[in-house]
């Protein structure tokens, strides 16, 4: 007993934390303030018991702590359960790619993806992204009505992610709907069978893409993963499948969620919208970071302690589970003055929305670029848009993604600038193939040329 404090003493900061309930979404600010004031690390009995880190200092230290593991042991023989709390019911039998690995294994996979996703690599895609945005808006611009989720923010990240992977662009809908619906559809929903079936179709297409590209290589993230070698051997198929699932999961619904929330907020604050549009040269970057902080599309991640360790005065034991809340750390007043105010020109905004440490969201540069393209195009072409609160559907819960299902809006109609989406996707596919846009930055430096 000398060095081991009794469990109830270790866990004397207790908080009933259930982020999967609609109440957590509705009372997010209240729960966050309570946890910051009273905890800011607490033991919660929910989901077989786990720690919750809400304070910025604790989140900062725990996310970078060597005794905190992302590993997911699918055999269940050890307590390592990866990043989901509770474990997903629809277990797919694969780890969640490198996000459920620790170094040095994680680093092997990350190194393979980096030259496709670095700032320089992503910048090459800007003209391509702008063209998908242009075509998506052209589909609706003459009508004066758009659903920003269904008809813009679901499309652009999906098409771009597939392009980067080396999967045909016209398949975007096979991927987009299950990636989106899989997050917001609860297990008890009458729609769950349809969503699970769509998910299977998507998974099958991913595996087929992997086999197809292995036989007939074409540039992109899939090719990078099938060509990688670990001690001279190819990566296991199931790990590649996990990586591909992670790319889809990370690339799709998160940027959709950010864009939808930002557009909804700008509709509610037309003076801020006008300011942002007029002064975008100085405000666009800081506003983007502030939308990321304030809405935190991916609100947290699970971890497992791989050792007994003391962090910021809290004692944790091997095998205990931990929820690291990026969303609550993002509202810590000790780092972010007036944390519940959205300030487009916020300074010192070292937000937690892309995570911290070696697992920093590898798609962060993609997310920012796609978000800025969609946002500025809407500001230019639909400057007086008004979102319709009656038709707006937020996710019921924000335990996994703080997202939206629908965000209908009206605006003064304008002229089309070019071809519609289908024709544009055909053209972009041709450009992708001819210019080999999906090559890594080490092999291709030039930006896409849209003719």
């Amino acid at each position: 007993m000398s060095e081991l404090i009794a469990d109830d003493e270790r866990k004397n900061n207790r908080y009933h934390f259930d982020r999967h309930t609609p109440q957590y979404r509705l009372q997010f600010e209240k729960v966050t303030e309570e946890m910051h004031r009273e905890c800011p690390v607490a033991w919660s009995e929910t989901y077989n018991g786990h720690w919750v880190a809400a304070g910025s200092k604790e989140v900062f230290e725990l996310a970078r702590c060597p005794a905190v593991s992302n590993h997911h042991d699918l055999t269940g023989e050890t307590p390592f359960k990866g990043i989901s709390i509770p474990a997903a019911k629809r277990q797919s039998g694969v780890r969640g790619g490198m996000l459920e690995m620790d170094d040095p294994e994680h680093r092997l996979y990350r190194t393979v993806l980096n030259p496709y996703l670095s700032p320089a690599a992503v910048a090459r895609w800007e003209p391509f992204i702008d063209e998908i945005v242009r075509a998506s808006l052209d589909e609706k611009i003459e009508s004066g009505r758009i659903d920003f989720v269904d008809e813009l923010a679901n499309i652009v990240p999906a098409v771009l992610t597939l392009a980067m992977m080396g999967i045909p662009l016209k398949k975007w809908a096979i991927y987009s709907e299950p990636a989106h619906a899989g997050v917001y559809t609860p297990e008890h929903s009458p729609d769950i069978d349809r969503v699970v079936a769509m998910h299977k179709e998507m998974g099958l297409d991913l595996l087929n893409s992997m086999f197809e590209i292995r036989d007939n290589p074409r540039p992109g993230l899939v090719n990078a993963l099938v060509e990688m070698r670990i001690d001279g051997e190819p990566a296991p198929d199931m790990e590649i499948a996990g990586m591909l699932g992670l790319i889809i999961g990370g690339g799709f619904d998160t940027t959709t969620a950010l864009t939808a929330h930002a557009l909804e907020w700008l509709s509610e604050h037309p003076d801020r919208r006008e300011l942002l549009s007029n002064e975008r040269d100085t405000l666009l970057d800081s506003a983007t970071e502030e939308f990321l902080r304030y809405f935190t599309p991916a609100p947290g991640d699970g971890r497992t302690f791989s050792d007994n360790v003391e962090v910021e005065g809290n004692q944790f034991k091997y095998g205990e589970r931990l929820w690291i809340s990026w969303a609550m750390a993002n509202r810590d007043p000790s780092v972010f003055p007036d944390p519940n105010e959205l300030l487009l020109d916020r300074k010192g905004n070292r937000h937690f929305s892309f995570g911290l440490g070696v697992h920093r969201c590898i798609g962060s540069n993609v997310a920012r670029t796609v978000f800025k393209s969609m946002l500025t195009a809407v500001l230019d072409r639909m400057p007086n848009f008004r979102c319709d609160p009656a038709g707006t559907v937020h996710y019921d819960t924000i335990g996994v993604i703080q997202g939206m299902r629908h965000l209908p809006a009206t605006f003064t109609p304008g002229p089309r600038l070019g071809a519609g989406l289908d024709e544009t996707l055909d053209k972009l596919q041709r450009i992708c193939d001819e210019q080999e846009l999906a090559r890594p930055i080490t092999e291709r430096k030039e930006a896409a040329v849209i003719r």
């Binding site: 670095s118 300074k347 905004n349 920093r360 540069n365």
Partner: protein
């Protein structure tokens, strides 16, 4: 003012480059940051200080000379 980026800590969040584009450069392959020069020109000092405050990994260190 002198500036240094701890390459062990930097994870390529890119905020420093966004805030002080003349003072930091990002690696083409993984986006990690390094100072353009150790000595910060006087007209960039404020931007570099803001980059220090904004770094999510707290990986940028400055030393006030004078």
């Amino acid at each position: 003012m002198k500036v240094r980026v701890d390459s062990e800590r930097c994870q390529g969040h890119t905020l420093c480059k966004m805030i002080a584009p003349d003072s930091f450069e990002l690696d083409d392959i993984d986006g990690t940051s390094s100072p353009v020069s150790e000595l910060v020109p006087p007209d960039q000092e404020d931007a570099v200080r803001e980059a220090v405050h904004s770094c999510p990994e707290q990986a940028i260190f400055i030393e006030e000379t004078s």
